[in-house]
């Protein structure tokens, strides 16, 4: 956790540094605001980094921020696996959309996820996928008439 914290600070410092570096080459008006923002940000991020490196360890998983706290009921190993897993699924969904466009990607994704992760009987999976797809089709495409771009595959195959 401590390593992660340090990396995050370094990441912020890198972002601020990049901003300052790019901004220096611009005209006055264009660089004023970014510099006024990124220089203090660099200072703050560095301060936080020093605090994390040399300050006392903080009690509790996250600081007393006015924000969400992730649940801690699941053992760390399992949690890590699941986190990586879900991010992979999300990335997979986006990839599906790129390749096939929304109208196809949505039922495909639903189906795959429910089969592999849902742990239900196969007919339940199909049923739910059909419901989701039906909902998507009726509401988004028929009623609201939204237009969804074709995926790459459709373009390549000239469909």
């Amino acid at each position: 956790m401590r390593k992660a914290r340090i990396f995050f600070c370094l990441f912020l410092i890198a972002v601020a540094g990049y901003a300052i570096y790019s901004a220096l080459g611009w005209t006055f008006k264009a660089k004023l605001f970014p510099l006024a923002v990124s220089i203090p940000m660099l200072v703050l991020a560095t301060t936080q980094l020093l605090l994390d490196l040399f300050g006392r360890a903080e009690t509790g998983g996250s600081g007393p921020a006015v924000d969400l706290e992730l649940s801690a009921d699941v053992p760390a190993e399992v949690a890590r696996r699941r986190v990586i897993g879900i991010f992979l699924w999300i990335a997979g969904f986006i990839l599906l959309v790129f390749l096939f466009g929304f109208p196809v990607a949505v039922p495909l994704f639903m189906f795959s996820y429910l089969s592999l992760q849902g742990g239900m009987r196969w007919w339940q999976t199909i049923g739910l996928t059909a419901v989701a797809w039906g909902f998507f089709y009726v509401v988004f495409q028929r009623i609201v008439h939204l237009q969804f771009e074709d995926g790459l595959l459709q373009t390549w195959l000239g469909l």
């Binding site: 956790m1 992660a4 914290r5 995050f8 912020l12 972002v15 601020a16 901003a19 790019s22 611009w26 005209t27 008006k29 264009a30 605001f33 970014p34 923002v37 990124s38 203090p40 940000m41 703050l44 991020a45 936080q48 605090l51 903080e58 996250s62 600081g63 007393p64 921020a65 006015v66 924000d67 969400l68 706290e69 992730l70 649940s71 009921d73 699941v74 399992v78 699941r82 986190v83 879900i86 991010f87 699924w89 999300i90 969904f93 986006i94 959309v97 929304f102 994704f109 639903m110 996820y113 429910l114 992760q117 742990g119 989701a132 509401v139 988004f140 609201v144 939204l146 969804f148 771009e149």
Partner: protein
């Protein structure tokens, strides 16, 4: 004016206008639930339908849809942690944790009731403000608007954790938000900043993909990790009681709800300030109402006031936003811009006429806001309990559904596939922030306000040099800024001494 008030009411109650309003409401209900749509993009798709309607009918339809969407947007925020509207993000912070604690019904009831109260207060303000609206808006020039956005940003201190590290992180995130806002074309000189050679970034990052990513994805991840239903392994709450409890909460904290509604209206009136800010200021204000430091830390983990504040502000700002739109033709927000488009098509010119010759139409809009919200709340009460049951459905089923909502929502904001990648990136960032204790609200606040702050500062300096600092309203606002920044520290002192006294 009184006749116009009554005339306006009758315009809405006419058979055709009323039924169109109901249709609009029905659409708005569905559309508000689904993130991404319901904003300007879908409203724009509804424009073709208004050609054949009279102005009162058209606005009953559009406004009915829009105001209901603002209310139901809170529903997905509470249930899934997915901001149903860009403007329901603040409700996620406390609404969703409540759902995770099994209090979904209560949170929904509170969100709904505070939305209604907020909408009513907003409508009343709109009606009352009619005579003074023009001088009021005209007295806020670029310097005043700049100071107002600074007031907005100074809320960061209230949104960050107490203590040095909390404040450092809060400010760093606020600055990051401001920096992200400067991506894109700079308005004064036209030069491109941080666009990394991508045309997609010319106009900067869009709010919806960022917001949906940064708030919803960490929730989804958390859900997947826990492997349980949203509400965990609790026994089902007595949901009916839950909703009623939430409604009672609204009246228990009525004064807070009123103040947050006022904030919403006021911010909504300011052209260009954008409704996105109102909910955060209301949330910060709700945090300020914490009575001791333990209560303060409860925010973000399921404090009912964190739901009441933004819930009210979201809807009251609708009334507020209508004011500059109707009186000046300057849209108070994205959806208002579409409404303006509707005005143009109807041949109605926003301006003094709307407040004199066409006053009845203006009031018909006020009545639409009132009536549609009341009906919406009554109807929703019936189904809220059933909606709350979703939090007891297995996580494995909910996850794909929520992801589908998240990404379709993110895409339909601008019809850009690239937005999905933005959502993913900010989703990842949001997850890291939550994991490591860096607060998200300041980032969002900085992002929403960034362009405004820069633009109005430059215009003020170019136009007035430094003399604008002495404008009376500006000086008042400077004091207000100091107050808002200092408040958490003052409060902390007081609370600490009270804690010591209590011990």
């Amino acid at each position: 004016m009184f006749d116009a008030l009554i005339d306006g009411l009758f315009l809405v109650l006419q058979w055709k206008a009323f039924s169109l309003m109901m249709v609009g409401m029905g659409l708005g209900f569905v559309v508000g639930l689904l993130p991404g749509i319901g904003g300007p993009a879908t409203l724009a798709l509804m424009l073709p339908f208004i050609f054949k309607m009279s102005p009162a009918e058209a606005f009953a339809f559009l406004l009915g849809m829009h105001s209901v969407a603002a209310t139901t947007g809170d529903i997905t925020s509470v249930l899934f942690g997915v901001p149903g509207e860009g403007l329901s993000a603040a409700t996620v912070l406390d609404g969703h944790p409540m759902a995770k604690k099994g209090e979904a019904g209560r949170a929904l009831g509170a969100a709904l009731m505070s939305s209604l109260v907020g909408a009513l207060i907003g409508a009343v303000f709109l009606a009352l403000a009619v005579p003074i609206v023009r001088p009021l808006v005209l007295s806020f020039g670029s310097p005043e608007l700049f100071m107002l956005s600074i007031v907005g940003i100074s809320c960061i201190t209230s949104l960050s954790g107490l203590g040095t590290q909390g404040q450092i992180r809060g400010f760093a995130m606020g600055l990051l938000g401001l920096l992200l806002a400067s991506i894109g074309q700079e308005r004064q000189s036209g030069s491109l900043r941080f666009d990394m050679g991508l045309m997609y970034l010319w106009d900067g990052l869009d709010l919806i993909p960022v917001l949906v990513g940064i708030f919803a994805i960490p929730e989804v991840v958390d859900l997947a990790v826990r492997g349980t239903a949203i509400a965990g392994d609790r026994p089902a709450e007595d949901l009916q009681k839950g909703v009623i409890e939430g409604i009672k909460d609204t009246f228990r904290h009525f004064w807070l709800v009123f103040r947050c509604s006022a904030i919403g209206v006021f911010v909504g009136i300011m052209p260009g300030a954008g409704g996105g800010v109102a909910q955060w200021m209301a949330y910060a204000h709700a945090v300020q109402s914490a009575k001791n430091s333990k209560e303060r830390e409860g925010f973000g983990k399921g404090d009912i006031r964190g739901v009441l504040g933004p819930g009210a502000a979201n809807n009251s700002k609708e009334g507020g936003e209508l004011i500059p739109t109707i009186a000046f033709g300057v849209p108070g927000g994205g959806a208002m811009a579409i409404l303006l488009g509707g005005f143009l098509i109807m041949g109605i010119v926003p301006g003094p006429d709307m407040l004199t010759k066409h006053l009845a139409i203006t009031f018909s809009m006020v009545w639409t806001l009132v009536i549609s919200n009341i009906i919406c709340v009554i109807l929703c009460l019936g189904i809220l309990n059933h909606l709350a049951k979703i939090t007891y459905v297995r996580g494995g089923l909910i996850v794909p559904f929520v992801l589908f909502l998240v990404f379709v929502g993110s895409y339909t904001a601008n019809n850009q596939i690239a937005d999905l990648i933005v959502t993913f990136i900010f989703g990842f960032l949001g997850y890291l922030m939550v994991l490591l204790g860096w607060p998200r609200p300041p980032l969002v606040l900085g992002f929403v306000l960034g362009k405004l702050i820069e633009t109005y500062l430059f215009i003020s300096m170019t136009r007035y040099g430094f003399s604008w600092l002495t404008h009376p309203i500006v000086m008042f606002l400077i004091l207000l800024v100091a107050l808002v920044i200092a408040y958490p520290y003052i409060q902390d002192r007081r609370l600490r001494s009270r804690d010591v006294a209590d011990a």
